[in-house]
Symmetry: C2
Subunit: 238 residues, 2 copies
DNA sequence: CGATCAGTTGAGAATGGTCAAATTCGGTGG
DNA sequence: CCACCGAATTTGACCATTCTCAACTGATCG
């Protein structure tokens, strides 16, 4: 969490708190802070929610349920990330808390309102949208053009960098509340196959994910093995 | 192309033209109009381009080349669609003209500048970003959780709606400059397999794509067969 | 009239999925 | 602390889908 991000979250926090006390129609948008417990559904697929949702802390899964009964996980937003960009009216989007989560909610149609927000609000949101776009793009590359092992390793590496910061890492180790089923829905694999892939990575000493902890003994080695380049995680313009 | 979209393109056109004549530092951004021929590369993967690119007319492929040598096509932007959202500095993005194309270019770091554009410019751009986001989301669903036939049919249906407008269609027929290889790179399939899938769709009388023409005799039937719902193509807020 | 590129087809291989049965893990109540 | 329950993980055997490689056709262009 960079200083810049910390500042922004503090700004949201301050706005949310003050609004909770004296409902002042200032120049800023309404901001609500909400807490969820692990496993709780934040937005269900048939809800019509018009709001920017922003993660203050915790792990979130943002996905979509298809008419064939399956789910695809679009993103795992962490602290400082946007969850929704458009309204969820047409989207069958489903947002879940994977751990205890705090989110900020700026109600209203996202795109319409963004331009009327004060710049200290809108600018960080735009950057967060750009960051998410970078993740999404890389995610599509994984889904479309990488094998299961490569794909899974990419995800673990991406999470490592996002959880631990971009400092030059040699090894990674962090708690991770995803189930293999969550991972599968994100990677376009079955939970069973995710399990086999994780086993392979573990037996080769490349990465392990057991009991809610991810460990990568040599980040650079795994990264070069699967062609992972973390530069997409830090925007050029920041 | 809706009236709203037409208006926006006219606005860009007017701005671009006037800037070409008398370089006036008005309150609006610089706007350039550029033309490309079919097959031309608009932005190559190692270029660092900081600009909003906007399609005025023609078919574009926006993709990404991976370190394993393959390509993934992220989107086929058509008239009124944004091509890039962030800078392409970190992204290995590759933008190609699939037909004769006219694009508008608003130079500068996209996210930083958007908020300083006059609202008649920034508002439609935000909406275009939201539209692209909706397409991307659905695209990820296809890549991750739909079989090859379903996925291909989805793409053909999406293109039908985008080319012909959302009017209640019974049948679709339109020229389409994509190669089977382009389609494969978008769908995460090999060109060979795309060929087999198209053959299957054709033999079942569901859809045909030959000699640069897509034909779908019964749009609703195909849509319900593969679970396609076009509502994501028209934003709720429009 | 070659040359080239998109499309087409076949045969066999590889990757990932399905189904079903353990086994382990994290609580929860006694 | 221990027994138990449900959810998540693990494993095996078999199957389906998609890929790879290779050859061939057909159209287009200089």
């Amino acid at each position: 969490m960079t200083g810049e991000l910390g500042d922004f979250l503090q700004l949201l926090e301050a706005s949310a708190t003050s609004l909770g006390n004296r409902r002042k129609a200032s120049d800023g948008p309404n901001i609500w802070r909400r807490n969820y417990t692990a496993g709780e559904t934040i937005v269900d697929w048939d809800e019509k929610k018009q709001a920017f949702l922003f993660v203050a802390s915790g792990w979130v899964a943002s996905g979509k349920v298809l008419t064939n009964g399956t789910r695809i996980v679009l993103d795992f937003p962490l602290a400082g990330d946007v969850i929704t960009i458009g309204s969820t009216e047409w989207a069958r989007e489903i947002i879940t808390a994977l751990s205890p989560v705090t989110i900020f909610e700026l109600p209203g149609a996202p795109i319409e309102n963004l331009l009327s927000y004060p710049r200290p609000i809108s600018q960080p949101i735009l950057k967060a949208i750009a960051r998410r776009n970078a993740r999404t793009t890389e995610h599509m590359a994984s889904l479309g053009r990488r094998g299961a092992v490569e794909r899974t390793a990419h995800m673990l590496l991406e999470l490592s960098y996002r959880v631990q910061g971009q400092a030059k890492m040699t090894k990674a180790k962090f708690p991770c509340p995803l189930t293999q089923s969550d991972l599968g829905d994100a990677l376009g694999l079955t939970a069973v196959h995710v399990n086999r892939v994780l086993k392979e990575l573990r037996e080769k000493g490349l990465a392990s994910f057991r009991n809610g902890v991810v460990e990568i003994p040599d980040v650079d080695r795994l990264a070069s093995l699967v062609g992972f380049d973390p530069s997409y995680l830090s925007l050029a313009s920041e």
